[in-house]
């Protein structure tokens, strides 16, 4: 391409964002859409958090004080759905939008108009989901796993709206995944080989394939529900020759890859932050890539470990137990690599590092309880108790959410061009860290003592730890007010950030100015630039 042609092609690129509110509706810019995703996820996080506080307030004391049992079930169901589909997944897609083009040396995402659409579906899907609270018969009350036939023959009318919302969320996720794959494979700087890609890009590439594999299965499950409910089919009704357990097989064939969809990008984020603040290259770059791919593969063949008590044949239980235990191996490799990255480093403890280090510690605790749950005979006692609740909140709150918060603090200077208040951010970190453990650690004890999950009231031997857990949750909920303040304060009043606010950080995104220009790379980075910023050197 001649120099003049390049200049002409770039002319219409440099006009920058449109003015006014319509900018956000019409935008096809990856940074704008990334911000939209992040703010949407943050609002959903607050909505889901308020529902969680409702649950914990009801469980503060034995007896029913605030909510009828049916309403309580609506709260647990909507809390789960909103957090999974409204907060965690969109937040990771938002991070991908912001970061992947900058990390692979691209100007923008490969499919910008589809990018706009895949975001703008979300508020409608979320709105439909939340509107079910105000319908006659109330919101869905069958748990976020919506097992048939409770979600088919025995569900409120609003379930059809829930099904539609899930379809929309699925469209959005699949489009987001296609866009990421297309961007990584086609828009990557020509000189960047796959094994030069930063781990956040690698983990998201693999996650995208998980999404494309898993979301259509979820769509299938809700479509079968829809026809069972309205068109006289009997997929999940034994009276018509169906099988309610088949629902669980289909759901978890989606559901298990789904939990890795929510954690693999987190692994990527942590693999960026720890080397930066340990001032040492990531240990075992290629083994990290292979471990991610192994986890993704295994995630498709372990689904029935959620179903040990459905009456599976013993051979099936043995297989799913072995396959599940195997996941501990690549996950362990990741944790060992992070620790080896810290080893003999020169560590400092800025806010992103604090979140990343506590991620490693707390996610590993969640991994330990996951290993225990994987042992099929022991799962007889753990299954559907608060032990499970504690487990998945350790991996999703102090795992996925922790990584998202770490990422926000780490890349905020690049996004906004401003620094956040380090002192306040550290206070917030310690506050949230203590509160989250007061909330979720006692739930291990509750589960082992025999408290089933999803109950609005409990026997009195469970009172003490429920009380502690609820108090912790109030403190954890309050910490988000401070987080909101810190972020808004950074955007409005933060001190200007340097191009490389973390001197030791590697990655092409740090070669761009702070804040990053509206279009990331006009010219692809050279081989030398790519190698200088790669994680494996």
């Amino acid at each position: 391409m001649s120099a003049t042609a390049t200049a002409a092609a770039h002319d219409d690129h440099h006009h920058g964002p449109e003015k006014g509110l319509l900018r956000w509706v019409k935008t096809t810019n990856h940074k704008d859409i990334g911000s939209l995703y992040m703010w949407f996820a943050f609002i959903m996080l607050l909505v889901g958090g308020v529902l969680a506080l409702g649950i914990r307030t009801e469980l503060l004391q034995p007896g029913l004080q605030l909510f009828e049992p049916q309403v309580f079930n609506q709260l647990t169901t909507m809390h789960g759905l909103i957090m999974v589909f409204g907060a965690i997944m969109p937040a990771f897609v938002g991070l991908a939008n912001w970061l992947i083009p900058m990390m692979v040396g691209a100007p923008d995402m490969a499919l910008p108009r589809m990018n706009n659409w895949s975001f703008w579906i979300l508020p409608f899907a979320g709105g439909i989901l939340i509107s079910t609270f105000f319908m006659e018969g109330g919101a869905p009350a069958f748990g976020w796993t919506f097992y048939a036939p409770l979600s088919t023959s025995f569900a409120p009318d609003s379930t059809d709206f829930f099904i539609f919302a899930v379809h929309l969320l699925g469209f959005s996720s699949i489009m987001g995944a296609i866009n990421i794959i297309a961007t990584v494979l086609n828009m990557r700087a020509p000189e960047m080989r796959l094994m030069d890609m930063p781990l956040f890009v690698w983990t998201w590439l693999i996650t995208s394939f998980l999404l494309i594999g898993a979301m259509p299965v979820l769509a299938g499950a809700v479509t079968m529900m829809l026809t069972d409910r309205n068109f006289g089919t009997a997929f999940f009704d034994a009276a018509g020759g169906g099988d309610p357990v088949m629902f669980q097989h289909i759901f978890w064939f989606f559901g298990h890859p789904e939990v890795y969809i929510m954690i693999l990008p987190a692994f990527g984020i942590i693999s960026h932050i720890i080397p930066t603040f340990a001032r040492k290259p990531l240990f075992g770059y290629s083994s990290m890539v292979y471990a991610t791919a192994s986890i993704a593969f295994l995630s498709y063949i372990v689904w029935a470990h959620h179903m040990f008590l459905t009456g599976m044949p013993v051979a099936g239980e043995l297989y799913f137990m072995y396959a599940t235990m195997l996941i501990a191996v690549p996950t362990g490799v990741k944790v060992f690599n992070w620790v080896a990255t810290m080893w003999k480093g020169s560590m400092t403890f800025e806010t992103p590092m604090l979140w990343a280090l506590s991620f490693v510690f707390l996610f590993t605790i969640g991994g330990f309880s996951g290993l225990m749950l994987g042992i099929a005979p022991a799962d007889i006692q753990y299954h559907d108790t608060y032990f499970v609740v504690a487990h998945f909140h350790y991996v999703l709150v102090t795992g996925a959410l922790w990584a998202i918060i770490a990422a926000v603090f780490y890349w905020l200077p690049k996004w906004t061009g401003r620094m956040y208040n380090e002192t306040l951010a550290k206070i917030h970190f310690w506050w949230a860290l203590i509160a989250v453990n007061i909330t979720f650690f006692p739930q291990h004890f509750l589960g082992l003592a025999g408290m089933p999950r999803r109950i609005p009231d409990y026997a009195l031997q469970f009172s003490d730890f429920n009380y502690v857990s609820s108090i912790g949750s109030f403190a954890f909920g309050l910490s988000f007010i401070l987080l909101t303040y810190i972020i808004v304060d950074c955007i409005r009043n933060g001190k200007p950030a340097e191009t490389r606010p973390w001197g030791s950080a590697k990655g092409l995104e740090w070669t761009l100015a702070s804040p990053a220009p509206y279009h990331s790379f006009d010219l692809p980075p050279t081989r030398a630039e790519i190698l200088a910023e790669s994680q494996h050197s």
Partner: protein, 374 residues
């Protein structure tokens, strides 16, 4: 602002007032059967394996956090790869997992494979109670959350103390208990008549899904006389938290006596269905049955929940012809479960109660009417 103040003060009141509470426990129960003890052993093994791995990994992590920090003048090394190390920390976990999988597989096979049972109990979950059938003994009954627990669910902590609800059994007591003989291998056939439930007795380490339209089996061999309590462990709708399980394990002699008394009860019940009952007697009995079996959905005052559970009050069913209502109660319809397991007298009483209370003006139904419809 006023709303905020009200909310805050309500919350403070909730946090402040705590009634005396039962003892908490930290760990899984060891239970009272061989299987439950094996499972406890596996749980503790897995726990200690995690503790040891945790000590090593977190030990290394905290050591470098403390020793390799910039503020202490630590200079960063540059190593970033070692195939040998990657092999070691892939291989060692695999060996540990194999060591854990061997005893786990053994216990799993013990749990799942039963050669021969001494007796059978059929357990049927339904919203939100359990039905127990002893097919060989011809015994059948329904087990509901006890009235004493029901009475205080909505009470404030102070009211709760005033009624002096038995602390240890709140939400864990029932009207009709399962009775089982000690040192006997019992096969449980577990199913459901509506949604999925799960029958769980922690002390037996017995937890099995009750799937509608399918029968799962599980077994236990209780070795200790006593009362054991459990709960439904699969979300099954509104009152999922209120369908406990209570099992009395008794000596073989006591069990035989219980079977005899249950069978005599059944004969007396059948006899009572042939006589004509007064309306007052039917109403008194009907109220009890209504509160235990029907009030969960249709509400204690018969008002139902709009859009989900139809009202009894002023309904066409309770004020119309009795035949339709009889069919509805005996055979069920849609979300309404079939109640054919209740005796003729019970069905007649509860229908009469529904037709003559809440301001309704339907006709009285006699047990003989039920007999003729069946």
């Amino acid at each position: 602002m006023k709303l905020l103040l009200t909310l805050t003060s309500a919350l403070t009141a909730l946090i402040g007032s705590r009634s005396a509470l039962a003892e908490y426990t930290l760990n899984m129960t060891q239970g009272t059967t061989e299987i439950s003890k094996d499972i406890y052993g596996l749980h503790m093994m897995a726990f200690w394996v995690c503790v040891v791995i945790g000590l090593v990994v977190f030990g290394a992590m905290f050591y470098s956090i403390i020793a390799h920090r910039k503020s202490k003048g630590a200079k960063a090394a540059h190593f970033h790869e070692s195939t040998a190390v990657e092999f070691i920390w892939t291989g060692i976990p695999i060996l540990i997992l194999i060591a854990m999988a061997i005893p786990a597989s053994k216990t799993l096979i013990d749990v799942e494979i039963l050669e021969k049972a001494d007796m059978t109990v059929k357990v049927t979950g339904m919203q939100w109670k359990w039905q127990y059938d002893y097919p060989e003994e011809g015994i059948s009954f329904v087990s509901n959350l006890s009235q004493s627990s029901r009475d205080v669910i909505n009470a404030s902590p102070e009211e709760r103390e005033a009624v002096n609800e038995n602390e240890d059994t709140y939400l864990l007591s029932v009207d009709n208990r399962v009775v089982l003989p000690v040192d006997t291998t019992i096969r449980f056939l577990i199913t459901s008549s509506d949604v999925i439930h799960n029958w769980w007795i922690p002390s037996f380490a017995l937890k099995q899904d009750a799937n509608p339209g399918f029968i799962n089996d599980a077994w236990a061999r209780p070795t200790q006389i006593g009362t054991f309590r459990g709960q439904c462990a699969e979300l099954c709708g509104k009152d999922h938290g209120f369908m406990p399980i209570v099992v009395d394990v008794v000596s073989k002699e006591d069990y035989a006596a219980w079977v005899a008394s249950k069978q005599a009860e059944k004969v007396a019940e059948a006899a009572s269905a042939t006589m004509a009952w007064t309306e007052a007697d039917l109403l008194a009995r009907g109220e009890e049955i209504y509160n235990a079996n029907c009030s969960g959905c249709h509400q204690k005052d018969g008002s139902g929940i709009p859009g989900v559970f139809p009202a009894m009050k002023g309904s066409e069913v309770t004020n119309g012809p009795a035949e339709y209502q009889l069919d509805l109660v005996i055979n069920g319809k849609g979300g309404m479960p079939a109640f054919k397991m209740l005796s003729d007298t019970d069905i007649a009483s509860v229908i009469t109660y529904e037709r003559r209370s809440f301001g309704n003006n339907g006709s009285v139904v006699q047990p003989s009417d039920v007999t003729s419809v069946r």
